[in-house]
């Protein structure tokens, strides 16, 4: 490895290895701008002009402001005078111009670099009063940056060949834009392996590494790098030898993926005859093709938030119906499980006027939101029921925490059914209704919930978050987010046992369900339907076909005796490594982790 090669590490979020050139997208508080390099004199001249025009505009704005203030509050003009001086200061004015001309940076990036330098300088000032003047510098900086960004598109998702996007964070909406663009992978500073963005990257098969500290500062735009979404490594300035090594690994991984994918569509039954259903989690109608490609037995979780987040307006019943019908009809006769709106929390509707919540995860979201915003909920239920006429649909409600919520939701379904009958619109009278078990209260109540529903689906991502009180997006505690935690396993057992008494089937649709490491234990606990990111299906099916239910049950009982998650993790890892060495090597990564 040459001495210029550097390695950054993060969390592997979407498997695969790609080589590409970095495109850095940065944000400045609530402002966001693209970083790019300038290649010609012409570009540099244009950028110098753009910067100077922004300074002139800022100066005009500040002068106008000062004159207005001077008329009414002459004693307060000094602050604006100060800002006018900062605007033309060498460090914030001459230096960006130099960076544009000599270092080929675009105006935003040049300004940002210059500001960072001033901030660095000020951070070393001991006198707190003088150090506090950085606020004035920041104010001028933000004014200028705002003007610059206003003149260019707000947030450019670049196009082009083999682009690896580097950003502080990417919203799910931005991640969806990547599909079909030239972006071959991405790196973010924020996020965890089960964050929404990571899940989307997996379904689009875009390798990704998240949680890379200081990625924006460390990675220069245009730089060639290797992104290893299997190990979570980012290799900067790779030399030939390293490139070769990674190309080999890339090929091995592709071969492994190819191999496990053959006969994926066959049903997955254990050698001793325990039949399971391995389903796909999907988000968009465009993902329907993944269901076939990876051999899913149906859809165990169809998330329905995207249309609500993507459209500028509240989607109409027809728009919803259109999407649902497409998915249902394309997959018929396979089962499609539609989850009603799980909005709120981190993916809140911006246009509704709710105040920001202190604890969105504990706030007005999912079924709570729907039971409050009944018009929206009704509209969605109508669309789902109408789609049920085109194939096999079942519906489930997220974040159930009481029997009452299930009853209210069901009575709304009945009302909607009556409307549809009156209107003569076809739907499935027998459409099954399920409750998601993802709040500890629902686990405790599952015996009482069971008679109310046709099925349960354990949503592990939220259940683990709530049971262990871990925010999976918070890097400080992300490592404590442990699916095999004894408390989590006991909750799963409790649900399966209570449901068994009432004859209600139990599915599982969190990321936990798609990890070959967890699978034998889940099977042993009695989970017979698993839904996961489509990529994971071939691996999971292969494991199911290779271990007997008896063996899985023996493992589950051993694990239930263990008191620490470390012990359980060791045990599960050891088993996978011994029994499925090739899956152990790549499988966890392929499984969407």
């Amino acid at each position: 490895m040459s001495d210029t090669t550097r390695i950054l590490t993060g969390i592997p979020a979407s498997p695969g290895i790609v080589v590409g050139r970095a495109r850095v997208v940065s944000d400045f508080g609530d402002l966001q701008a693209a970083f790019r390099l300038l290649y010609t004199d012409q570009e540099r001249q244009a950028e110098v002009r753009r910067f100077q025009e922004a300074v002139e505009q800022a100066q005009a704005d500040l002068t106008r402001l000062r004159d207005r203030v001077a008329a009414e509050f002459p004693e307060h003009t000094h602050l604006l005078e100060l800002h006018l001086l900062i605007l033309k200061d060498q460090m914030l004015h001459d230096e960006p111009l130099r960076l544009i001309r000599e270092e080929n940076l675009n105006a935003e990036w040049a300004l940002h670099r210059a500001y960072e330098r001033v901030r660095e300088l000020f951070s070393r000032i001991e006198d707190p009063y003088i150090r506090g003047r950085i606020q004035d510098v920041e104010s001028v900086y933000r004014r200028l940056m705002g003007i610059l960004i206003g003149q260019s598109p707000r947030r450019l998702l670049p196009t082009g060949d083999k682009v690896i996007l580097v950003a502080r964070d990417l919203s799910p909406a931005e991640t969806t834009q990547m599909a079909g663009s030239g972006v071959v992978g991405f790196i973010t500073e924020r996020g965890g392996r089960t964050s929404h963005t990571a899940i989307l990257a997996q379904s689009f098969e875009i390798p990704a590494v998240v949680g890379v500290d200081n990625a924006i500062r460390e990675i220069a735009p245009g730089e060639e790098l290797i992104l290893d979404g299997l190990s979570g490594r980012v290799i900067l300035h790779p030399d030939q030898e390293v490139l070769e090594r990674y190309r080999r690994r890339q090929a091995e991984f592709a071969a492994f993926r190819e191999e496990v994918t053959t006969n994926a569509a066959e049903p997955a039954t254990t050698p001793d005859g325990f039949a399971t259903r391995v389903m796909a989690n999907i988000e968009l109608p465009e993902e329907v093709h993944l269901v076939g490609r990876y051999g899913a037995d149906g859809v165990g979780l169809y998330r329905t938030e995207f249309l609500f987040l993507r459209l500028k307006h509240l989607p109409s019943e027809e728009e919803l119906f259109d999407d649902y019908r497409k998915v249902v009809a394309a997959l018929a006769p396979r089962l499609v499980t539609i989850r009603t709106l799980d909005i709120g929390g981190d993916k809140f509707l911006h246009r509704t006027d709710y105040v920001p919540e202190m604890n969105p995860a504990l706030g007005l979201r999912a079924i709570r939101f729907c039971l409050k915003e009944r018009d929206i909920f009704r509209r969605q239920l109508r669309a789902i029921l109408r789609a049920s006429a085109y194939g096999r649909v079942r519906v489930m409600f997220p974040l159930i925490s009481s029997v009452q919520e299930v009853r209210e939701a069901k009575s709304l379904i009945e009302e909607v059914k009556a409307e549809l009958r009156r209107e003569g619109l076809p739907f499935d009278e027998e459409m099954p209704v399920g409750a998601m078990i993802e709040v500890p209260a629902a686990v405790t109540l599952c015996q009482m919930l069971a008679p109310e529903v046709n099925f349960f689906s354990i949503g592990t991502n939220d259940l683990i978050q709530y049971a262990l009180a871990i925010d999976r997006g918070n890097k400080q505690v992300a490592a404590m987010y442990q699916p095999l935690h004894p408390a989590v396993l006991r909750m799963v057992l409790q649900v399966v046992t209570a449901a068994g008494v009432s004859g209600v089937p139990v599915a599982m649709c969190g990321e936990m369900a798609g990890d070959p490491l967890h699978l034998p234990i889940l099977l042993g606990l009695g989970v017979s339907e698993l839904s996961m990111n489509p990529l994971a299906i071939p691996v999971i099916k292969r494991v199911i076909r290779s271990i007997t239910l008896a063996e899985a049950q023996a493992m589950a009982s051993r694990v239930l005796e263990m008191v620490s998650v470390e012990e359980i993790n060791d045990y599960a890892n050891h088993f996978l490594k011994e029994r499925f060495p090739e899956i152990y090597r790549f499988g966890s990564a392929l499984a969407g982790l």
């Binding site: 100060l82 001086l85 460090m91 001033v118 000032i125 001991e126 006198d127 003088i130």
Partner: protein, 94 residues
């Protein structure tokens, strides 16, 4: 042409309570811009161009700081003198 290389140095002390914060720095800068001479402020080997606001602020001069004013150029003597006066007046503060 002895004027050209004229160099004047004066010692000054920051006596106002808040030190060289934004307003005094602005006064230093406005004063420096009235002269042709190049004026720098030196504190413990660190140098700031008196015409650059952020550079003066970053010098970090609370009350009690000792500075050397160094002026160079045709009107260096007057410039240094004016600067000494400004410091002596405590920038009009207390």
């Amino acid at each position: 042409m002895p004027e050209k290389s004229h160099l004047v140095e004066r010692e000054v002390w920051v006596e106002n309570r808040l030190g060289i914060h934004a307003r005094p720095a602005t006064q230093i800068l406005n004063l420096a811009r009235q002269f042709e001479a190049e004026i720098v402020l030196e504190k413990d080997g660190c140098v700031a161009n008196a015409r650059e606001l952020l550079s003066v602020l970053a010098l970090d001069c609370p009350q009690g700081t000792r500075l050397v004013v160094r002026a160079k150029g045709a009107d260096a003597r007057d410039a240094a003198h004016a600067m000494v006066q400004l410091f002596a007046r405590k920038f009009g503060e207390t």
